[in-house]
């Protein structure tokens, strides 16, 4: 029996090719993402472990920042001298590391990495643990010399002798590049600029006696943990204002900070793998179903010769496992290639990881094979059961395909039950008023309606394709009639083929409705609330130095300037909840540049010293009201008792790490969280100055500052659109993969159908069907299948999108927008996909030898 299975596997290897490709793609994405994250993780573990000092002392971060505030926490540099005298300490150094500086070259272009990774200004304290070494030039001396890392120098074409401008929190100053340093370890992607230590303290921190951390080296024979204990003891009662970390703990904390970014890449990759698996399953199910249908007589013969059901089933499953084995092996190899590609890509983005140091943990091949074998096994299980059900009589009967006639009753029942439940969940989510329950109902509804549509897909084939292909006979005559009927011939097959396309397009449909609605809502909001002529801010919402604000103020034609900052606060509410969120601080003239609707109170009350404003619904939920005094903790450890001065009635109070829409006067913010930088500056023109003149003036002023841009309301909308578009691009990339596999599925189905219909094709050719007409027949069938999948997917996606919008509406995004343009484009695109998918099968069919085809068994 095994021999028969092997023979059969080899005999059908051509037909299994596309299924194998689906397995390979899924496994490659899974393996690639695992290898990539393992490699990057290991590289950084090593980097941070080798560069961390035995013990590092930093100011305590009381709150993890939810937004960059621009604030740099410092400690006294003199602490280093105190610690150096502690028993067991070999050396202690005051370090200065400031991220978020901007360095502009002579053309006033930023030398910062284009990826958005920070530019870090650091005091030049070379030790054996430095991640870099000086490879040319000399160490910086005085306040006008810097070193720059070689990767940045290469990519931005900076050489020794070049003059740069450093734009730090304390102001900008000119420097000259006097040396280049090269990473001895992996470059995590940031741009590094090194200063003479006193310069770093005075120019970057604005305080010659400050530092950002103290590195402590242990004397021989003193362990890191022991050293940490002694340092803590030496710090005495002040120790709890500092964070002490051993080398190991410091490395862990560094990796954790980088982790967020790496996790995103990992999850994106796993998302791709998931789509590949999901769509690939349809392809494999279809292939095995078709192979079994074609081999009905052969299987009947096996049964007649005495093979029992179990043996037949096992034979088919063995074939599937062989496919899985081959697919997983190739997929694993492809995964390694993918990981190399990703590492190279990271290299292009400035993160230099050596591909030769690739880490393939034992988990990777195990996962690869589990995924590959699992997917094929699951996908082949039902077809295998069906194969086992072939009666020995099938060997004798002339019946061609046993599969067609089986009733779809079970599918109808399961489909309508699951579909009804899914629809109920979606309806529930649409009427729900609680964000969290609405979101979980949405998730449940999406999954259930997807399952229902996949299960019931074959039932929809007849009615939908009758309509879609209804004009075919009129347009294309008997060729059109035959292609429409061929698509209807086996609803199960057409349904499963189209399902692969449907899944991807449903996702896109849903996401595009949701994002169009978000965009529309933001537009409405911006129109309604933003009253300023211009907004000056960083594209990534990173704060910028005060110097820029001062320059704006001095620009001719500027009437009013309103500054704003963000900070992280932790608020204790009357109901006992402690909420950590982003809060904003505004200058008192806020009403001049924004239109805020208040439920109670007004802007002066909200921004008054010692007061704050919050969203009325948030306040209600937590039992707060105007006049209540709330304890608020700020970043840096200061606390304040702030009084609720006003309640707002805004639409978007939540989202993006923000809760409650809390804000207060900028003076309040600066009092409790000093040292922050401006996140946005709102500018109105002076009377008599036109917007165009003001814009030109501001652009001239800001020319030396590449990190910020002037935006009017239209530009500002565009910025928001771009932020949403990033999400959409990711979805489109996922869609791309889903479509590739779906196309493979259509190609697969058509190719196998062509083989199955060889005699029919021979007959058609014999009685005078031209090759061109034959190709058209197959193309039309392909198009109708693809469009069927698209219509089903988009219909599902529209429902999902509208329900998602209902959930978003609870967050204030009340506008519903359906991107009809995108939807029409997707339908047309799916027809193109159909045409493309039909290319090879149609060519193959038209190349068939007429006589051989007629004689085909």
């Amino acid at each position: 029996m095994l021999k028969a299975t092997l023979r059969s596997f080899l005999a059908h290897k051509g037909r299994l090719l596309l299924s194998a490709l689906a397995v390979i793609l899924s496994v490659a994405f899974v393996a690639g993402s695992l290898i990539f994250s393992d490699t990057v993780g290991r590289t950084f573990d090593r980097l941070f472990a080798s560069t961390a000092a035995d013990v590092t002392v930093t100011p305590k971060e009381t709150l993890d920042e939810t937004v960059p505030s621009g604030q740099t926490l410092t400690l006294p540099a003199a602490l280093a001298d105190r610690l150096a005298r502690v028993d067991g300490v070999a050396a202690a150094r005051a370090e200065v590391d400031v991220d978020g500086i901007t360095v502009a070259d002579e053309d006033r272009e930023s030398v910062s990495p284009t990826t958005g990774a920070p530019t870090i200004g650091t005091a030049w304290n070379p030790t054996e643990r430095s991640p870099v070494e000086l490879t040319s030039g000399h160490a910086p001396k005085g306040d006008a010399q810097v070193l720059i890392d070689a990767d940045t120098a290469d990519s931005k074409d900076v050489r020794i002798g070049d003059r740069l401008t450093v734009i730090g929190q304390e102001g900008s100053f000119p420097v000259e590049v006097v040396g280049i340093v090269t990473f001895t370890t992996t470059n995590p992607g940031a741009a590094l600029v090194f200063f003479d230590p006193p310069t770093a303290q005075t120019k970057l921190l604005g305080d010659p006696k400050a530092a950002t951390s103290i590195s402590v080296d242990a004397a021989d024979g003193v362990g890191d943990a022991e050293l940490k204990r002694r340092v803590a003891a030496a710090l005495g009662p002040g120790a709890d204002t500092y964070e002490l970390r051993t080398a190991e703990e410091q490395a862990e904390s560094d990796v954790e900070q980088l982790g967020g970014f790496l996790d995103i890449i990992k999850y994106v990759m796993l998302g791709f793998a998931g789509i590949a698996v999901l769509v690939g399953v349809f392809l494999i199910v279809n292939t095995f179903s078709m192979l079994i249908a074609q081999r009905t007589r052969e299987l009947g013969l096996l049964r007649a010769l005495g093979a029992d059901r179990r043996q037949v089933r096992r034979s088919v499953l063995t074939e599937a496992l062989l496919l899985g084995l081959v697919g997983s092996t190739v997929g694993l190899a492809a995964g390694i290639g993918l990981a190399v590609g990703l590492i190279e890509l990271m290299g292009l983005m400035g993160m230099n990881i050596r591909a030769t140091e690739m880490v393939i943990g034992w988990g990777t091949p195990v996962t690869a094979y589990v995924v590959g074998l699992g997917v094929t096994f699951v996908a082949a299980y039902l077809p295998a059961r069906r194969a086992a059900g072939v009666s020995p009589m099938a060997a004798l009967a002339d019946a061609e395909i046993a599969d067609i006639g089986r009733p779809l009753r079970l599918r109808a029942v399961v489909g309508s039950v699951v579909g009804a439940a899914g629809a109920a969940a979606l309806a529930g989510c649409a009427v729900s008023s609680e964000t969290s329950s609405a979101a979980s109902l949405l998730g449940l509804g999406v999954i259930m309606t997807l399952i229902a549509t996949v299960v019931a897909g074959p039932l929809l084939v007849r009615p939908v394709i009758r309509v879609l292909g209804g004009a075919f006979p009129a347009l294309f005559g008997s060729v059109g009639r035959m292609s429409q009927r061929n698509a209807l011939r086996n609803p199960r097959r057409t349904g499963a083929t189209a399902a692969a396309l449907m899944v991807g397009l449903a996702l896109v449909g849903g996401m595009s409705v949701a994002s169009a609605s978000m965009t529309e809502s933001f537009d409405e909001q911006i129109d309604k609330t933003l009253g300023a002529d211009f907004v000056v801010q960083n594209g990534n919402f990173v704060p910028f130095p005060r110097e820029i604000t001062e320059r704006i103020r001095d620009t001719e034609g500027v009437g009013l300037v309103v500054r704003s900052q963000f900070t992280t606060v932790s608020v204790r509410l009357p109901d006992g909840d402690r909420v950590k969120t982003t809060a904003a601080g505004y200058e008192p003239e806020l009403d001049e540049v924004a239109n805020i609707t208040y439920a109670q109170g007004d802007t002066p009350a909200a921004l008054a010293s010692g007061h704050l404003a919050m969203d009325k619904d948030f306040a209600e939920d937590h039992g707060a009201g105007v006049g209540d005094t709330l304890p608020v903790e700020f970043q840096g450890g200061r606390t304040a008792e702030l009084t609720v001065g006003a309640l707002t009635d805004q639409e978007t109070a939540e989202g993006f790490g923000t809760q409650g829409g809390i804000y207060f006067g900028l003076a309040t913010l600066e009092k409790y969280a000093p040292g922050g930088q401006d996140a946005a500056v709102y500018v109105n023109a002076a009377s008599g100055t036109s917007a165009g003149d003001l814009r030109a003036g501001l652009e001239a002023t800001l020319d030396p500052y590449p990190q910020v841009k002037v935006r009017d309301i239209a530009d500002y909308k565009e910025l928001v659109h771009d932020q949403i578009a990033v999400l959409l691009y990711l979805v489109y990339a996922l869609l791309g993969l889903a479509i590739i596999i779906a196309v493979l599925g259509v190609v697969n189905t058509l190719a196998l159908s062509v083989v199955e219909r060889t005699r029919e094709i021979g007959l058609l050719r014999a009685i005078g069907l031209a090759r061109r007409q034959l190709r058209r027949m197959i193309r039309l069938e392909s198009v109708v299948i693809a469009v069927f999948g698209a219509v089903l997917g988009l219909a599902l996606g529209l429902v999902w999108g509208v329900c998602t919008q209902q959930v978003l509406a609870l967050q204030g995004m009340t506008a519903l927008a359906v991107p009809w343009g995108t939807i029409v484009a997707v339908v047309i695109g799916s027809a193109v996909v159909g045409v493309v998918a039909a290319l090879l099968p149609a060519l193959r069919a038209s190349r068939m030898n007429v006589l051989a085809a007629i004689a085909h068994e």
């Binding site: 035959m482 009927r485 007959l763 014999a766 009685i767 005078g768 069907l769 007409q773 007629i854």
Partner: protein, 272 residues
């Protein structure tokens, strides 16, 4: 399509009543030492309005002859004309059009497109060509074959005999110059087979069609006007107004000759 009407009027070469003609028709398979001659310089004339049967033992080349005459297969040497058109040397596109417009086909089995009903199958060649069928003629054909109440049926709903009758109707529907039938009764029981042969006979006698039938059944050949006997790629004999007995006797002589020349008995493998 523009010449569709002209094709039904006899051209100068067919004025003498020849529907198809082959001269020196040779078909070889393989090359060098292993060359097998399926047809060895065959000269043949198919007369209009006659029912010609092609007989011969398995491997005699009778199916190959039909395929070459019908433009389904290319020839190694020689020339073939359909009416006054030389078809040897025509490109696939022209051959396809020729088959569609001027030739009707019946095969042993799998004659119909399963997704189309009887009526759609019958008019398929004309639909492919984008031509309107001649309704009067179509009605006559359908009535002659007794298919009036089966027109809406799919092939799977028809018996084997009915399916062959539909195939016969399709071959006749476009009123082709020539109908080729390859073992049309091979898969039928004797009653259904007789019925189909009767219709082919009627097509010639009543409807004035020209039919060439390849068969190995002497009983079937007996319905024809002329039997051509093929042996080892050559036309070795012909018989006018055949009877089943006479054909059977003639066929037996093949077996004897073969048995003597090859030292083997009659081949048992069935020709497709």
């Amino acid at each position: 399509m523009s010449t569709a009407a002209a094709q039904h009027t006899p051209g100068p070469a067919s004025a003498d009543g020849t529907a198809a003609r082959a001269r020196g028709l040779t078909k070889a398979y393989g090359s060098g030492e292993t060359t097998v001659l399926a047809l060895d310089s065959v000269d043949v004339d198919i007369t209009r309005r006659r029912f010609t049967a092609v007989m011969g033992p398995s491997g005699s080349g009778k199916s190959t002859l039909m395929h070459c005459l019908a433009g389904l297969d290319n020839v190694s040497a020689g020339q073939v004309w359909l009416g006054d058109t030389e078809i040897t040397g025509l490109k696939d596109r022209e051959l396809t059009r020729l088959r569609r417009d001027r030739i009707g086909f019946m095969f042993q089995s799998f004659n119909l497109i399963p997704t189309l009903n009887a009526a759609e199958n019958i008019t398929l060649p004309m639909d492919i060509a984008g031509k309107k069928p001649d309704e009067k003629w179509l009605d006559q054909v359908i009535d002659t074959l007794g298919l009036r109440d089966r027109l809406r049926h799919r092939p799977s709903q028809l018996s084997g005999g009915q399916q062959q009758r539909v195939a016969c109707a399709r071959a006749l529907a476009a009123r082709p110059e020539l109908i080729f039938a390859d073992e049309p009764t091979g898969n039928l029981d004797s009653r259904a087979g007789l019925e189909v042969l009767g219709f082919l006979r009627e097509a010639v006698d009543q409807l004035g069609q020209t039919v060439v039938m390849v068969t190995h059944d002497p009983g079937a050949a007996a319905h024809s006007d002329l039997v051509l006997f093929l042996g080892d790629g050559r036309i070795v004999d012909e018989m006018e107004r055949p009877t089943a007995e006479a054909v059977l006797e003639r066929m037996k002589r093949f077996d004897v000759i073969r048995g003597q020349s090859d030292g083997r008995g009659p081949t048992s493998s069935e020709e497709r």
